[in-house]
């Protein structure tokens, strides 16, 4: 039960963050150029992403031995989580600017205004590119978290990812503007800690390690990563005044 909740939660949070970014792009295109082409682009991208999840998910679950899978995917999740955590620390410390959906929205608008010919094609490609590229991270999170969670893990991770996408899409349709109020940086911080912890847990299991208290050790790992990240933020802030 605990493992299933962890799988669902990690897939949901990670997918929600990336869905907000994809939605910003689709909204910018749809509100300025009409909805038909960007929606086609979004659907094509979602179908491509679903195929990737099915192919890689099945391939990983059925072909790769469990320990090898945990070692490889665990290592990749550690690298992925540490990358998110790294950025989150620098943002929290004010070294780099917080991710701003309004700014991303304005940038996409500028990109669209620069193109004059074949407007529908441009809208289609920008929506497709935005959703597909942002969705790659969703695919990785869902396949990695679901594939290493034992039997039945993949459908739970897929459900978490899908629910996140639906929640964000429905919210976007209702408010019809970029979801700047979503605490995206905080979510990325949390997901960074969770993924680094799960990744370390699985990678070490793949190396043959045994954890005291089994999956509950993930909480200890999360405490280590969260504690270290706060230390880093404190050290950076002490060195220099906050920029943002």
């Amino acid at each position: 039960m605990y493992a299933q909740l962890l799988t669902f939660g990690a897939a949901f949070l990670g997918s929600a963050v990336e869905s907000v970014e994809a939605l910003t792009i689709v909204l910018a295109v749809g509100l300025t150029r009409g909805w038909r082409s960007p929606l086609y682009g979004t659907v094509v991208a979602l179908v491509a992403l679903a195929i990737l999840v099915l192919v890689f998910g099945q391939l990983i679950v059925t072909r790769v031995p469990e320990l090898t899978l945990k070692l490889i995917i665990g290592t990749l999740i550690v690298l992925f989580g540490l990358r998110w955590l790294h950025k989150a620390i620098l943002r929290s410390a004010g070294v780099i600017a917080m991710h701003d959906e309004n700014k991303s929205y304005e940038e996409t608008l500028k990109e669209l205004h620069g193109s004059v010919l074949r407007q529908d094609w441009v809208a289609f490609v920008i929506a497709l590119k935005g959703v597909f590229l942002e969705g790659m991270e969703v695919v990785f999170i869902v396949v990695a978290v679901g594939g290493t969670s034992g039997s039945g893990g993949l459908p739970i991770a897929v459900a978490g990812g899908l629910l996140a996408m639906i929640v964000i899409a429905v919210t976007g349709v209702i408010v019809r503007k970029p979801l700047a109020q979503v605490p995206e940086n905080t979510l990325k911080y949390a997901v960074g800690v969770v993924l680094a912890s799960i990744g370390t847990f699985w990678a070490a299991e793949g190396m043959g390690a045994t954890w005291p208290l089994d999956l509950a050790s993930v909480l200890g790992l999360a405490a280590i990563y969260f504690g270290a990240s706060r230390v880093a933020v404190m050290m950076i802030r002490r060195r220099k005044p906050v920029m943002a």
Binding site: T75, L76, V78, L79, F80, L82, R83, L85, H86, K87, I89, L90, A93, V95, I96, K129, F132, L133, M136, E137, F140, A196, S197, T200, A203, A204, M207, G208, A209, T210, W211, P212, S217, G220, L221, I224, Y225, G227, A228, S229, V231, A232, M235, I236, R239, K240
Partner: protein, 71 residues
């Protein structure tokens, strides 16, 4: 072609921000694997997390210092 290149860059970018930092992280994991294969004590794998956590503290403070030096 540009789209494919962007997709490949996106996939690599999922795991690698700075090649040196990624190399250090992978190095810690490899050393951890070596130690775990010889020392069979429950919970020793926490050392891997501590090493990775120390690595991220070092890498982020270093990047902050470099950025401050540039501006």
């Amino acid at each position: 072609m540009r789209f494919l290149r962007a997709a490949v860059a996106e996939v690599i970018g999922l795991f690698v921000g700075d090649w040196a930092q990624t190399g250090v992280s992978v190095g810690i994991l490899v050393i951890g694997w070596f130690v775990l294969s010889r020392v069979h004590v429950a919970g020793i794998a926490f050392l891997i997390a501590i090493a990775l956590a120390a690595q991220i503290v070092y890498a982020t403070t270093l990047e902050a210092r470099e950025r401050a030096g540039r501006s």
